[in-house]
């Protein structure tokens, strides 16, 4: 059974060997990798830049198959979008550990000049390819992906000079796949975190970032925050000292502000003192309007929310979100829309009514979820996570994975905050449930219908249809 204990040096060494054995590219020595990191200038050190910033930093998502194109793309995003932090988004084959397919797609892309993969196949580019990328661009770069078994990807990219690595055993399992048990992904990510810890101990802090938006569809803030804190704790055990907790915009200003505040508060409280906790706010991760002007409106609301609550960074969307992978120009446009709003609001102090109450409700729910996890594991957070998901005490809406029950069903209340219509076996107390019920009854009365999955169906497409709450008769 999996346990939340630090891998020993011997275990790390052995895992390292196993991981590199499966690699389609040459391994790199750890010493040499540390030396490469040490030679990077200050402005490319991810954790330092993020943790010392005195304003909200912007970061897009971006990944194309060929190295030169990826360099150009990232240069466009800093040049035309003023991105503070850079991403490298990994392709789907690599996320699936299908390196041969990724290699074929990369080969095809080189032949045709078209992008035959939906991201950057970092493993196939190898340590040298990654280093060329890091050297060529002018900001810190993070690996962003969705890989349940990211051991080799982490080994290659961290040796290749990346200093931040997104994901975790829950947040990169439940939303992405039905193939893995949590016990498996927790073990995989213990290696990723231990490797990050090993770099950290050599003076190269690797920033780790749980993927807060999860399934991207009406995820209740308390669930997202509890899961990110669990992943932060697991990472801390392995020696990670820079953790960025993530949260995806739901679109209700008060709830979003309350959620970020709750995440900051609880993150600092739950994670060990030696860990520096930062936060990331993701602009809306659900369906976007196809109309680019409307999409920019969604982006601007996310930026305004971030300007009010000031997370450490914001992940931006592009006005072409509804159409798939955006052009570099559209991606830069999303960054500019965001930074315009951030700057116009930066000197203003905005007080929103109701934030405290909402924050209290979120914190209370997070605490009760985390209590349940600790209890289920007799104090061990790794075991507790497995047990809690098995019993449905912890759950997420719309999981493709059987590792979560998926018995919770979310819906927006009358002013668009995400509540739960069905709780399944989720470990929140009856008073919290009553509050959710009451809020959904209010909406039901406004709409003259019973609270049901129909509200959820209407909510899922509401933002792409031009509003926040899916009201009946909207189409």
């Amino acid at each position: 059974m999996v346990e939340d204990t630090r891998l020993t040096d011997a275990e790390l060494e052995q895992l390292d060997q196993t991981v590199w054995e499966s690699a389609p590219v040459e391994s790199a020595s750890f010493e040499e990798a540390v030396a490469f990191h040490e030679n990077l200038p200050e402005h490319k050190r991810f954790a330092d830049v993020l943790e010392s910033a005195d304003r909200v930093l912007t970061q897009p998502r971006a990944g194309v198959p060929r190295l030169d194109d990826q360099i150009n793309l990232l240069q466009t995003l800093t040049g035309e979008g003023d991105a503070d932090l850079l991403p490298t988004t990994i392709d789907s084959y690599t996320r699936d550990n299908a390196y041969e397919k990724a290699q074929a797609g990369l080969g095809q892309s080189r032949e045709t000049g078209e992008n035959e993969l939906n991201g950057f196949p970092a493993v196939n580019h190898g340590v040298d390819g990654c280093r060329r990328l890091i050297e060529a661009v002018d900001a810190p770069v993070q690996v962003r992906h969705g890989t349940p078994d990211a051991r080799l990807l982490a080994a290659v990219t961290l040796a290749g000079g990346f200093q931040s690595f997104e994901g975790g055993p829950i947040t990169y399992n439940l939303p992405y796949t039905s193939k893995y048990e949590l016990v498996e992904t927790i073990e995989y990510w213990q290696y990723v975190d231990r490797l990050s810890g090993a770099y950290t101990e050599r003076g190269v802090p690797i920033n780790r970032e749980p993927f807060g938006p999860l399934t991207g569809t009406l995820v209740p803030p308390s669930v997202a925050i509890a899961i990110c804190i669990i992943e932060g704790l697991l990472a801390a055990t392995q020696g990670v000292r820079s953790v960025t907790l993530g949260y995806g915009q739901v679109g209700n200003l008060v709830q979003d502000v309350a959620a970020i505040r709750a995440m900051e508060q609880l993150g600092t409280e739950y994670l060990p003192e030696e860990v520096t906790v930062t936060t990331v706010f993701h602009q809306w991760m659900g369906g976007f309007p196809r109309d680019e002007a409307r999409a920019s409106g969604v982006i601007a609301l996310g930026a305004a929310t971030a300007a009010v609550v000031e997370p450490d960074k914001i992940i931006t969307k592009s006005p072409q979100e509804a159409r798939g992978v955006p052009t570099a120009a559209a991606n830069a446009a999303g960054l500019r829309t965001t930074s315009q709003v951030l700057q116009m609001l930066s000197e203003q102090s905005v007080e929103l009514e109701g934030v405290d109450r909402e924050q209290e409700l979120i914190e209370r729910s997070v605490r009760s979820l985390l209590d349940a996890v600790f209890d289920a594991g007799d104090g061990d957070i790794a075991r507790g996570t497995v047990e809690a998901f098995e019993q449905g005490l912890l759950d997420v809406p719309f999981p493709p994975s059987e590792a979560a029950d998926g018995d919770v069903l979310p819906a927006r209340d009358d002013d668009g905050r995400v509540r739960l219509l069905k709780f399944g076996n989720l470990a929140v107390d009856s008073e919290v449930k009553q509050i959710h019920d009451a809020r959904l009854e209010t909406r039901a009365a406004t709409e003259n219908r019973r609270p049901s999955f129909r509200m959820v169906a209407d909510d899922v497409s509401a933002i792409s249809d031009g509003r926040l709450v899916g009201r009946p008769g909207d189409d």
Binding site: D96, T177, S178, F398, P400, F453, R454, A457
Partner: protein, 147 residues
């Protein structure tokens, strides 16, 4: 008489489940007995579940553009069982911007009884199934008897 049994799921390597989850609720509410196979379901699992539940209908969801490859052999598999369910498919069925009518024809030729696009309303799917399975006559009588 027991409720008609239907099998739903997302086929292939596709991990999109929001639609299929909500469809499960819609069908249950409309009086169907639903087996939801969830995400990334191989075609063999649809066949197996259809046989196991004596399904009246199989509803396949696909949103990532590879439905044609993923469904290849599904109907042949069903033909080898003792059940003969109606088959439906819905979602984004082709990569790129093909005309929906072309897509519909193509999937009808593969053996599907009905083809829905990604914007279809749950009500329409439910109504289609109820009509095809002759549930409306029964339920009209029931509603009258209750009221």
């Amino acid at each position: 008489m027991s409720e008609p049994s239907v099998v739903v799921g997302t086929i292939g390597s596709d991990a999109h489940v929001v639609g299929i989850t909500l469809l499960e609720h819609a069908l249950k509410e409309a009086g169907f007995d639903v087996r939801n196979l969830g995400a990334q379901t191989p075609k063999e699992a649809f066949v197996e579940a259809a046989a196991e539940t004596d399904a009246s209908a199989v509803l396949v969801s696909s949103l990532y553009g590879h439905a044609e490859q993923d469904c290849d052999g599904l109907h042949e598999g069903l033909a080898e069982t003792d059940v003969d369910p109606m088959t439906y498919i819905g979602g984004n069925l082709a990569v790129g911007q093909s005309e929906f009518e072309t897509v519909r024809r193509q999937f009808r030729e593969m053996g599907f009884d009905g083809v829905f696009d990604a914007d279809v309303e749950f009500e329409e799917v439910v109504a289609t199934l109820r009509a095809e399975l002759g549930m409306d006559e029964r339920s009209t009588r029931l509603t009258r008897a209750r009221s």
